[in-house]
């Protein structure tokens, strides 16, 4: 494959998979939020906060997209790896790997949405469980953070910003 394909795929997968996962996660939690608000409007505030948690993975995907495009020179100049030399192919493959890492770890938004959905139900039943609900849902975030950190290391050490 040409280097541009690796770079473009890396950027697209990072933001695409993480974004789609966030959409599913927010969708699941949003459905639960609608359910509890249908019974009692007072649940709105708590439900909204929990519903928003799975959105962060899409932000990580977007950050990674910018970093990949920046380090490949697509943003702010010409494409640095246009020549299909071994070194350029390796660098663009690293960028592809970084994007894939963030994209796949971004899938944690789906279980996070499911946890948030169960949390929204629990908070509607007993509002005192709000903090615990946030903590449980935030646990799923860890994988996405690990993915982002890994991608940053790959980009910074393997290609350079």
């Amino acid at each position: 494959m040409d280097p541009i394909v690796y770079v473009a795929l890396g950027a697209a997968l990072a933001s695409g998979i993480a974004g789609a996962a966030s959409a599913f996660g927010v969708g699941v939690a949003g459905a639960a939020a609608a359910g509890v608000v249908a019974e009692d409007e007072k649940n709105f505030k708590n439900a909204l906060i929990l519903e928003g948690l799975p959105m962060t993975q899409s932000i990580y995907g977007l950050i990674t997209l910018f970093l990949i495009l920046l380090s490949a020179g697509i943003i702010g100049g010409g494409f640095k790896f246009a020549e299909p030399t071994t070194q350029n192919i390796v660098k663009s493959a690293i960028l592809f790997g970084a994007g894939l890492t963030v994209g796949l770890t971004g899938l944690s938004a789906i279980p996070q949405g499911i946890i948030a959905s169960a949390g929204i139900g629990a908070v509607a039943k007993n509002p005192k469980t709000f903090t615990q609900g946030i903590i449980f849902a935030a646990m799923a975030e860890t994988m996405a953070i690990f993915g982002l950190v890994g991608a940053l290391i790959m980009i910074a050490t393997g290609v350079g910003l």
Partner: protein, 364 residues
């Protein structure tokens, strides 16, 4: 480079396919329960507290009882009440229970909606059995009709029927036609007819539960088997109290339960039957109410119902996005309505609030 690229592409394709499959199945499994289960939990928060029941016990008149329920979801069902009679209040509470079932069928995913429709069929069985028994004993059948079920218009038509042949016409085309025909031909008596209806109902429920997969199969299967156990245990104990033999009891039992009741059939009396049950999973349930059970079997009925409800609550905690949540809720709602009906009846009978509060504990 070509073979390396080929291996890389194949690996990526396999990884993506696996991830997509797992993600898809994860979403399919949990997403449909997101909205209904969250809504049901919010509804659970609105279930009446013990304090509220005590306040209702202080009502002293049915009018006050209805007024005290004004700020609850029961208000909608009491809107049609024209007079504050026990019959009107009971019918409103029955409508509330029917409303809960209807809501469940509306908000639950298709795959479990059908189970709730089948579950509602238990009220048809109760109504049909009550109406037929009332007709056979020349009692006013209308008094025994509970305003809930999937074939309520037919049940009402049965209650209004002037003869048993007319009931057969009403039941034509339903699954209950055949056992009723047997009843008319004298092949079944009233008790066996009722058992046959329950057998048909529970075999349908069990068949549906076992046709499901994964968590749903576990939860629905356990729910149905526990319900069958409850019916069978009570049947055996009632039969033992009446002095029936093993051969007479065996045809009354519904297949599919979890407890082997064969040893119970051969004991001599109720006390020994209860002792025999001690080694089963219902042992702990029976031990708590043992003394009262010998005088009144309905105590055991409520104790087993409470056990089933607790078990469903456990499953609900273990599978928060599953059919366990609506099942657990519907059992709690049924218990709540049973207690409200009891309060209304006691108020109507002129029982003092203090005594109502005492009796409420027993109804729970």
């Amino acid at each position: 480079m070509e073979p390396v690229t080929g291996i890389l592409n194949t690996t990526l394709a396999v990884v993506f396919t696996y991830v997509a499959y797992k993600t898809g199945s994860y979403i399919y499994k949990y997403t449909p329960y997101s909205y209904p289960n969250a809504r049901i939990r919010a509804m659970e928060a609105k279930l009446l507290s013990e304090q509220r029941f005590n306040e209702l016990a202080e009502s002293r008149s049915l009018q006050n009882f209805v007024v005290n329920l004004e700020d609850t979801e029961y208000r909608d069902y009491f809107g049609d009440v024209s007079s504050y009679t026990l019959e009107e209040v009971e019918k409103a509470l029955e409508r509330a229970l029917a409303g809960t079932y209807t809501l469940m069928m509306k908000i639950l995913p298709k795959r479990s909606r059908e189970f709730f429709r089948l579950l509602l069929g238990e009220w048809d069985v109760r109504n049909i059995a009550s109406v037929v028994k009332a007709k056979l004993t020349d009692e006013p059948a209308e008094d025994y009709v509970v305003e809930i079920g999937t074939m309520l218009p037919k049940v009402k038509a049965m209650a209004e029927a002037k003869s048993l042949e007319e009931i057969l016409v009403v039941l034509e085309g339903t699954p209950y036609e055949e056992p009723f025909q047997k009843l008319l031909l004298g092949e079944l008596d009233a008790m066996k007819f009722e058992t046959e209806l329950y057998r048909m109902h529970y075999s349908k429920l069990l068949e549906y539960a076992l046709s499901r997969k994964g968590d749903e199969r576990i939860i629905l299967g356990e729910f149905v088997r526990l319900k069958i156990d409850k019916l069978n245990i009570l049947t055996v104990l009632r039969a033992k109290r009446a002095g029936l033999s093993a051969e007479e009891i065996r045809p009354m039992l519904i297949p599919g339960g979890t407890v082997n009741l064969e040893p119970l059939l051969h004991v001599e009396d109720l006390g020994m039957a209860l002792a025999e049950l001690d080694s089963t999973k219902y042992g702990a349930v029976i031990r708590d109410v043992r003394e009262r059970v010998e005088g009144d079997l309905s105590v055991l009925e409520r104790a087993i119902e409470s056990y089933i409800s607790e078990r469903m609550s456990e499953l609900d905690r273990f599978y928060p996005l599953s059919v366990a949540t609506p099942l657990s809720y519907i059992l709690k709602k049924e218990a709540e309505i049973r207690r409200l009906r009891a309060i209304a009846k006691l108020i109507d009978d002129g029982v003092k609030p203090e005594r109502i509060k005492e009796l409420l504990g027993e109804v729970a």
